[in-house]
Subunit: 554 residues, 2 copies
């Protein structure tokens, strides 16, 4: 396996052998490379900063639903470490070409496309793709490089180096609907001068196990477990939007700028409504973002005219651009999602950002037209647009807003912190900033008791899982994952070894943040969440600071 | 002495006795109150945050040149602790009324004036002062409250809660020419709903020493030392602008966005030019910002028509709005200074902010008209103006600029870091962010050797001095200051006790920052200063990180 080092300043590309003894993938690769070669004190957008792409441990193999791809570096949004992962088709293609990671350094003045195939890798002038929105750019790229390539791409937001910008990855239909969304990784890629990475695995080969028989057997067990998983049908039929009614009922669905925990107009944006519209218009509920997916959790949404509007229309997006803005119009929410996909903007951060403008009198809850117009400001690159594209913390700072739903500069996602206290501990403490995938805790959501322990356990599990490239909706327990690692990589890990990898990743991430100036005191939810009750549960966040400070004692 | 607690939410004012055993003034009072009652994890602009004003240890007494006033809280600019101090007339007036500190908490929806006189303190609706620029507002206040009041006031920038906004204090002529400028203390005051604090000391009394005879004697010695100080005449005749030629010659005068260390057109903005224009137009060099000042370092500048333009036309302002922007026109620089004084903007931060726009193609060095127009954007409160009014770090983030002259979010002042290496260590490590008064080091500016030790010593000395309210241009050594403290306060401090106060202040400031999430890793100059040589000395910043990390080992 190789580490592809791309020196953007002079165009030199070197394929280094990746240290054999390092069994690393995805987020673990990002953490390792940032610890070894990162510049924690440098500006994220500077030449000294590095941009990383890393497929998971199983990329290129037959392990089921293991095609998640990690993208990372020093976050332009938080100033700390950042790994954002994403489904789509690119990860397995990179794996089949034997690539463990891509490291881009320096910067190119002209925007480039990095083309990777079995002949190697080269930089090509991005030409007329520059400035295009993601769907149009991917059309052109497929025309230029073939229908079957996998694409990583930044939209205009990433080209503008805005701190809320994504790296999109194409789904099996070639649409840039999947996003490594959080922390401004699009700006990192943009600062390197990269518009797209195009991966053609024609002629590449399926990765075989070092112990192929054991790997096949482990793979079979895992596939069966996924196939028989208790939530598989629910995910397939309802997708992540099924959480809308659930979170709304629990009072943990951010509504009106995180002011309420449920939305009175929920029936106009919930999964029943979505299924109804999809039936009438020809959208679908069960789309898989990576080849071979059997969970297929992701809805595709069509407009009133029956035409495709957006794919990857997820819980987080519908809540943050819907309920959190008081917007009850699924069509408008879908248009905003599409626009964010086109421009390369994280919908969670966007929803937080527009939400706080209510406090400055610049947005009224429920005004979908205004919300759409504000996103257009970003497309146009106006000063207002650039502010909004810089995320919720900067927007609040510029407009003098003091009630800001963010941790470490990153907007708080769609499971309300005060009424999901375990999840909130993860938001507060994750080295990634407030993150919905860094360690979900569902138990006993209104009680502060035991949440630090639960969050610790989940953060370790999720870190390890983010190394594998497995989708979290496989719900595979470590004892089914570890045999696949052993079979593929020819090692003899125990479950404990696997968890220790997760712990070590978190240690590396904390160490990076410390070097970047972010101390443990930053492990706090916004102070107002301790005092302002969240209707209807009237919960406040009351996990003691002292307990939170013990989260990383492991 | 009392602590005036002003609850802005309900208008309640309580005069608490200040703990007698606490011999604290100025910055030491700020540090103490923030440690005791501050909310380091709360948003600076939130109701939970406190805004503080504290006269120095000698306020209200006859100690010479001891009228500096400290203003502070949690900085909206840096997110850490902030104390900014300022001359003018208010400090002694507060001292004569027996006030040790003002603490404002909560927030008032309608803007208020806090009126303080011998009858007590009360809040009054600010009425038609709201929205006025500082000079006009002070005229109205003097009409309303009398000619002899001392005024602390925020301009439109503070009312807009912009992170680069000052608290202005009136000089002996009643002009708002003196500014507690750094760290956005104006936004803190604005967030409380305070437009102005008006101090009328009519009927107040000169503070006598607990040991009056000893105090008088110590005061006399100090006054003589100031009177006979080696730099007194230079300061009086040339003011702080005398440093222009000095720093330019040493290659440590930030020019063109900190890209060069000297300015080829220096003769058009140096002190000789200033003196020449002042002679021709009726400006003056030797203005004192507080009553009784014998140093009188501060120039007043008149326009081509002979009319007053600005007072407090200092080195930092002329360099940051002049050389650092490539602007060689003293008239334009003076107009910008006046406009910053009117709006309540820090000229150092403003100069850094406009400077970095060159990298985004939004400003060309030397274009004074454009620089003035950009400041007008702030006056108008446009999105662009609000960005620029939020300081250099936010401006850079919004416009994707990665070469940013800031530490902990605060712009780097006018003694270039790379060619003033001791000073640079202070910029890097001060809990206040990059600050020109936190510990000047002049020795051996191009050598990295010994600078950490020098900076440590100077930071301790300056912290202690900032507690006294003495102007740093008194150049009084501790052995002349301590007897005044002992005489006035009836204590028996040694010089070591005095220095220990300085150390304890720095410890408290570091502890506050830690709780606010700012770790020791933030004690770094921008990384590019290690690599980019600064002409003409071609110095890079090469004091080792490891040594820097030992600065606070005391």
């Amino acid at each position: 396996m190789t580490l592809l080092r791309v020196q953007m300043t002079n165009g030199q590309i070197v394929a280094e052998p990746f240290p054999k003894e390092k069994i690393l993938g995805g987020r673990a690769t990002i953490d390792f490379l940032l610890s070894q070669r990162g510049a924690p004190a440098a500006h994220p957008l500077s030449e000294r900063s590095i941009f990383l792409v890393a497929p998971g441990l199983f990329a290129g193999s037959g392990a089921p639903q293991s095609g998640r791809l990690s993208v990372g570096g020093k976050s332009p949004l938080t100033g700390g470490i950042k790994e954002a992962n994403v489904g789509g088709t690119a990860s397995h293609k990179l794996g089949r070409l034997g690539i463990r990671a891509i490291l881009a350094e320096g910067t190119s003045k002209e925007r480039q496309v990095l083309k990777i195939d079995k002949e190697g890798a080269r930089l090509e002038n991005a030409g007329d793709i520059v400035g295009l929105t993601n769907y149009a750019a991917c059309d052109k790229i497929r025309q230029r490089y073939g229908e079957n390539v996998g694409i990583l791409i930044i939209g205009p937001a990433g080209e503008m180096k805005l701190a809320n910008s994504t790296v999109a990855v194409t789904d099996p239909e070639g649409r840039p609907s999947r996003h490594a969304a959080r922390g401004g990784v699009g700006a990192l890629m943009g600062a390197k001068g990269l518009k797209a990475i195009v991966v053609d695995d024609e002629g590449g080969s399926l990765r075989k196990g070092a112990n192929e028989e054991a790997f096949k057997e482990a793979t079979k067990s895992a596939a069966e477990a996924i196939q028989n998983g208790p939530f598989r049908n629910a995910f397939h039929n309802l997708g992540t939007p099924m959480f809308i009614d659930m979170d709304n009922a629990r009072g943990s669905m951010p509504t009106n700028n995180h002011r309420i925990g449920s939305f009175e107009k929920v029936q106009k944006i919930n999964v029943a409504k979505l299924v109804e519209l999809n039936k009438a218009r020809g959208g679908s509920m069960g789309h898989g973002c990576m080849p071979g997916c059997v969970v297929r959790c992701s809805p595709i949404f069509h407009g009133p005219d029956g035409k495709f509007v957006t794919a990857g229309f997820e819980y987080e997006t519908i809540v943050m651009l819907g309920a959190n803005l008081g917007i009850d119009d699924l069509d408008a929410i879908a248009r905003m999602d599409r626009r964010c996909d086109e421009l390369g903007l994280d919908t969670i951060e966007m929803g937080c950002t527009i939400g706080v403008l209510n406090d400055a009198g610049m947005f009224a809850f429920g005004d979908a037209g205004k919300a759409e117009a504000l996103i257009e400001e970003i497309a146009q690159g106006t000063p207002l647009g650039r502010i909004l594209g810089s995320g919720v913390a900067v927007t609040a700072k510029v407009f003098g807003i003091d009630r800001v739903p963010e941790v470490k500069g990153q907007g708080i996602p769609a499971h309300a912190a005060r009424s999901s206290k375990g999840w909130a501990v993860t938001y507060a403490t994750s080295p990634q900033g407030a993150d919905h995938t860094a360690g979900a805790v569902l138990e006993d959501p209104l009680s502060p008791v035991g949440q630090v322990d639960r969050s610790r356990k989940q953060q370790i599990l999720m870190a390890a899982l983010d190394a594998t490239g497995l989708c979290q909706f496989t719900f595979l327990p470590p004892k089914l994952i570890v045999p696949m690692i052993n079979g593929l990589h020819g090692v003899n890990w125990s479950v404990e070894d696997y968890l220790e990898m997760g712990r070590e990743m978190l240690r590396q991430e904390r160490a990076f943040n410390l070097k970047a100036g972010i101390g443990p005191g930053a492990d706090r939810l916004p102070e107002w969440m301790k005092n302002e009750p969240l209707a209807p549960t009237n919960a406040v966040f009351d996990v003691p600071d002292q307990e939170i400070d013990g989260l990383f004692n492991f």
